[in-house]
């Protein structure tokens, strides 16, 4: 099994969710994150003190998938998250040794 992690722009979540649904994946876990990269931040001013904010809000989406779906799923996520502008984010995959559904104790593909 693989764990696909996608760091995306917050307002693309809906598209990613829809695309996954269409692809047949019905679960994911999201965390709020801040990203630092090529995308420039902005400047803030508070009583004469100027700050550069170089972290940009992102969402971090995690999806467990069966090995054979991984490659295709990455494509699906990348496509759904893309706006074509700097800061669109990254998607990566990591090998998973075992996965369990807490409710039932099922393992592997059945856990999804």
């Amino acid at each position: 099994m693989k764990l696909i992690t996608a760091v995306i722009k917050p307002h693309r979540l809906d598209e990613v969710k829809d695309a996954l649904q269409a692809f047949g994946v019905h679960g994911l876990t999201v965390t709020e994150a801040s990203g630092y990269g090529r995308q420039r931040g902005h400047t803030e001013v508070y009583r004469g003190a100027e700050y550069t904010v170089d972290l940009v809000p992102k969402l971090r989406v995690e999806i467990l998938v069966e090995d054979e779906d991984a490659e295709q799923l990455i494509e699906v996520v990348v496509k759904a998250a893309r706006t074509g502008k700097i800061g669109d984010g990254k998607v990566w995959s990591v090998p998973v040794e075992t996965a369990v559904r807490v409710r039932t104790g099922e393992r592997g593909p059945d856990a999804l």
Binding site: H11, E44, Y51, V53
Partner: protein, 443 residues
């Protein structure tokens, strides 16, 4: 102080003025809590700037245009009181100092433009909005206040004094006026990116409830204070304000429960504001039972009205039309039905044997203010849009107007304050010099 002066009435109007003043911050919170977190500050700032701009204009010429001696036909005041010169410390309006009256009326002039801002949440350039406030106050509010609120023995404003339109505390001059302007600006600026598609839920309902609480509180100054005396009329206006607001909250909640299956707190707050709006013109002429009727009708009608914007494709973002225009029209017209003839005003409405006369006068008031405000607001808004631009760029709207227009974030709750770096104005040299002197940071 001269004869006819009443310290009691004066105390009442002073405090009423302070109460009306606090409605504008209240409105800022009411609106500010309803938008998404990324445009909170812009929403707050649009109300606060009205406090600044209108106050200065009022002293310079606004008071004179609104309450100076009529310049002709009841359309506008003359320039006798430019800069508030010539107003003697002890001169009276009724039983109170002119300064008290001027301060009280100023607060109305402040909140009216602020009300408009709800229609264009999330997308108006702050400088353009500020310009709009200055212009709108000058060419719309000051004249309309003269029409409705300036009484001078039949030689005053053409609506209130000359034609007997009843507007005790501003159903036409404030709410219809602002509501029509909101409609115009919503059309001029257009729909927000993602309207009807993206989730746009309120970022802080406690802030909304705070706003509605302060509005309700201040509204006693607005309505009862409009008696300009601490007397029985003010007392009736006070009771009517409370009970109409209560009834409207019940009406809105009932409608929402039937239509959407839940009693929401936003519905409670919205219903209360709808009731406050509707009773504003009527609080000096109906009985408490009449006030319950006015409130109930307004609560249900406004709750129904706000749904229309999605059907019509009109992005009146925070329902200035649905609440202030609709509520103001309802309240103003219901005076023609429910005025008892023996509360504050002697004209009786249809249900109290007064015939259709007063109803006709109310229609006149509603139509005149609505039309004037809509047309002028549309012209002003369009002029600004075509010249310096009124709406922000789309990417600003998406990433959040607070950052682009105010260079601030509304909140920072993280343990992090992440990714901030001081850049200025501590000049490099100075910073370096003093950094050495600073205690070692041994965290």
């Amino acid at each position: 102080m001269p004869d006819g002066f009443s310290a009691g009435d004066t105390a009442f109007v002073f405090i009423s003025a302070a109460l009306v003043m606090v409605m504008t911050p209240g409105l800022a919170f009411f609106y500010g809590g309803m938008v998404r977190v990324k445009s909170t500050l812009n929403m707050l700032a649009m109300s606060f700037i009205s406090l600044a701009i209108v106050s200065v204009l009022w002293v310079l010429y606004g008071y004179s245009l609104a309450f100076g001696p009529d310049a002709g036909a009841g359309l506008i005041g003359n320039l006798d009181f430019l800069g508030m010169r010539g107003i003697d410390l002890n001169a009276l309006t009724g039983s109170i100092p002119v300064t008290a009256f001027a301060a009280f009326q100023l607060m109305f002039a402040i909140i009216t433009p602020a009300l408009i801002s709800g229609a264009i949440a999330d997308r108006a350039r702050f400088a353009s909005w500020s310009l709009f406030v200055a212009l709108w106050a000058s060419v719309v509010y000051f004249p309309v206040a003269h029409w409705v609120f300036f009484f001078d023995g039949g030689q005053g404003g053409w609506l209130g004094d000359r034609n007997g339109v009843i507007d005790f505390a501003g159903g036409t001059a404030v709410h219809i006026n602002a509501g029509a302007a909101g409609l115009a600006l919503a059309l001029v600026l257009g729909r927000r990116v993602g309207f009807r598609k993206d989730p746009m839920r309120p970022h802080s309902l406690p802030l909304v409830m705070l706003g509605s609480g302060l509005l309700w509180f201040g509204w006693f100054g607005f309505n009862a204070g409009s008696a300009l005396a601490a007397n029985g009329v003010a007392g009736m206006a006070f009771v009517n304000t409370q009970v109409a607001t209560a009834a409207a909250m019940l009406g809105w909640l009932a409608y929402e429960r039937l239509r959407h299956g839940a009693f929401t707190t936003l519905g409670a707050a919205s219903g209360a504001v709808a009731g406050l709006v509707a009773i504003t013109p009527a609080c000096g002429s109906v009985s408490p039972l009449g006030a319950i009727a006015v409130g109930l009708i307004a609560g249900v009608a406004c709750a129904a009205a706000i749904g229309l914007k999605y059907r019509l494709g009109l992005d009146d973002s925070l329902d200035v039309v649905g609440v202030h225009l609709v509520g103001g029209v309802i309240g103003s017209l219901l005076v023609g039905l429910f005025a008892t003839g023996h509360v504050g005003q002697s004209a009786a409405g249809l249900f109290y044997g007064g015939g259709f006369g007063q109803l006709g006068r109310q229609v006149l008031g509603v139509a005149a203010v609505l039309a004037y405000s809509f047309v002028l607001s549309w012209l002003l808004g369009t002029a600004i849009q075509k010249t310096i631009g009124f709406r922000v760029a789309e990417d600003v709207e998406v990433s959040g107007i607070d950052q682009a227009e105010h260079a601030e974030s509304a909140y920072d709750f993280s343990a992090l304050g992440a990714g901030l770096a001081r850049t200025a104005p501590a000049p490099a040299a100075v910073a370096a010099a003093t950094a050495e002197k600073t205690e070692v940071d041994a965290r």
